[in-house]
Symmetry: C2
Subunit: 411 residues, 2 copies
């Protein structure tokens, strides 16, 4: 039996992941860019708006013509033609003139402010009374006020949300440079594993890992490819790994949790050409028997055999790694948000292992968030299903006492 | 000009949304079900595991044969044939017998526990020494311990994460009943609006709303369909609305912010057959001129004309509504997580309006989260781009003082 000969800390494992280069950029249509990350700075191609626009319904005026106007002594202005939507006014606003303008209308030349319709009264034919003064630029969105030509609009690393897509559309930027999505080959191996749509014979079990891992890859922006289940045969595992590496950026493997199954995985990876083994074992629980190797710019992640351990490791390392490859900063743990909660019961931990405890989020009588550990054997997928998130116990702690406030990473 | 004749509170608006029925269920392949919501309870079809399995590498034994075993007085057991992965052992473990078993192997009949390999020593040919006792069921995952046939596996309303998909795959559930995704027709109107890929003539602007709203619909699990931009013509708007309603569950409209544009929208909606106007105006800022109508089971949401207001309303009401239609509970506000932060500056608010303030999340010198209001005219999309989230000021507050701890809803 092969001992773990290359066990490293979780922090060191993360550094190894950070040693892989980010993926190249690609250009995608704006409407396909939701959630993607900019791979270079975007410069603003033009002023937004392209000219001064009214932010209210009212009258375009010269501000100085309204100075001192009040209900008792209104300013009387001569009406010009109305500003129409979709057209740039061709007339000018001269001294003592006002033009009806709708919200969003472009200001006619000469006008430098807009009086809200609420502060005007119709007067004798062809004129209006203004009952409040306006200052220059009042109720006006100036040229370039939303975005100024030549400035940096959005910087590399920005994740595109609906508002960024709207903003870019307004500027006519109809395709954007974003990091490529990682292609991930997903391999399950084991003599006992059958596809989920086949009835297992006695002693066989269905492949759960491929489907959970593929979903996690998709959730992390990656494109999973499932390979056929590989039996416990080093040559066949090596061949499938080679095929997967030729087509993918990252390959995940999951096999049995027995020492024999782990040996087989290690042998198959070691036989790959120009492969560098970065880690064989992490000082973490669950998930110690995790393997990381590098071939060129591609990564091979050998997941632990227990489905629960495989999923925890995938949440803690694979998901952030896939996001990192697409431009995000690299950080341990699920991408989920952190919430603070009171630990319901004490949990014990082994010094020297970073430990991750599955918890369920509940509310106590006063509505405070409570994190209740979900215990269960490591082969039980139902414990992951019952959990709302995980808490982390640092390497050098013996555990956490009940009542302690903990950060729950939701998943 | 038409006055707002049907202004309601934000809470009442939410109730109106909750009056629409949820969408019907549909069956989708398991691998397509990530993030979808179960539309009915799933019963467990079989026991998982189907028989007792070992959770460690070791030896399958009868627990009673190890009682009292220690380093000094080990129990001597006769070796049976090894348990192989993928096969149900056909031999029985009798008194005084032990069979090598890998992690995940099915226990042979007669065995009721597994001794870890670490607590055994090889002995004379054909036997082993056991140096620690095991209790019954030690290191064994029992039949049905992960999931028990006939019990409810997952309940209606459960959102499917990677772990649920793995769990269902393990049980051979290869397709699942989930709420249908809402089809959403997205209409932009306005004489001044041109498609984003066309160069606006002077006085025209590009369509930003359609792209931002479509992205938000996708983010919320919906399937957006963009319609051609409709000019300010009530008959054409009515016709496009009718087409959209025939093909979609929800139709969103955005037009100009002028009173004229809003009137047009109201007229077009009012002319639809069998339409019920539920709201025309919400006591909220930004986003007061929002319209909600119902035709059969379909909803029409008339968004405010300012792109910022439209997006805020879409985040506060449209996104949760689309999730509600797919089985989620209905709650105001973006689906994003809430984080607590200290308000950097005082903000003022109008009594009688529920107010939403865009904020940027920063860190102060001590690492505490600070919410800094993002100010800017309501036509400026860049304010949404600069914001990380929003805070809510209740209807009856005059504002919030700087230094107050606020809930920031990230978007």
């Amino acid at each position: 039996m092969t001992e773990f000969f290359h066990v490293i800390t979780a922090d060191r494992f993360l550094e190894c992941l950070g040693g892989f280069p980010r993926l190249a950029g690609e250009t995608v249509p704006l409407d396909d860019a939701l959630g993607r990350t900019l791979s270079r700075d975007l410069a603003c191609p033009e002023d937004l708006p392209e000219g001064a626009r009214s932010t209210v319904d009212g009258f375009a005026v010269r501000a100085r013509d309204t100075f001192g106007a009040s209900d008792s002594i209104p300013a009387l202005l001569t009406l010009g033609p109305p500003v129409l939507m979709g057209e740039l006014p061709r007339f000018e606003i001269g001294a003592g003139e006002a033009a009806p303008i709708p919200t969003g209308g472009f200001l006619p030349p000469g006008a430098d402010a807009v009086v809200m319709v609420e502060y005007t009264n119709p007067a004798e034919a062809g004129s209006i009374e203004v009952t409040r003064p306006v200052t220059e630029k009042a109720n006006v969105l100036e040229r370039g006020e939303d975005a100024l030509s030549g400035t940096t609009l959005l910087a590399t690393g920005k994740v595109l949300r609906p508002q960024e897509l709207g903003f870019l559309a307004a500027l006519g930027i109809i395709e954007v440079p974003v990091y490529r999505r990682p292609r991930v080959g997903v391999i399950s191996s084991g003599d006992e594993i059958v596809p989920m749509d086949r009835r297992p014979r006695p002693g066989q079990v269905r492949d759960a890992n491929s489907h959970a891992i593929s979903a996690l890859v998709r959730e992390s922006g990656g494109i999973p490819t499932l390979f056929d289940i590989v039996p416990d045969d080093v040559a066949r595992l090596e061949r499938t790994l080679g095929e997967a590496l030729a087509a993918a950026d990252v390959v995940t493997m999951s096999g049995g949790s027995s020492v024999g199954a782990r040996d087989l995985m290690l042998q198959a990876v070691s036989r790959l050409p120009e492969v560098e083994l970065l880690a064989h074992g992490i000082a973490i629980r669950p998930g110690k028997p995790t393997l990381l190797a590098r071939q060129g710019e591609n990564a091979v992640v050998g997941l632990p055999g227990h489905p629960v351990s495989a999923l925890v490791i995938a949440q803690i390392f694979l998901a952030p790694f896939l996001r990192y490859l697409q431009g995000a900063p690299l950080a341990k743990g699920p991408a989920g948000h952190r919430v603070q909660a009171v630990l319901a019961t004490s949990v014990h931990s082994t010094i020297g292992l970073e430990e991750y405890i599955r918890v369920r989020l509940e509310r106590d009588g006063e509505g405070n968030a409570v994190a209740r550990p979900v215990f269960g054997k490591s082969g039980m997928l139902s414990t992951m299903v019952r959990a709302d998130g995980i808490i982390r116990i640092p390497m050098n702690a013996e555990g956490l006492p009940g009542g302690e406030v903990v950060d729950v990473i939701e998943f």
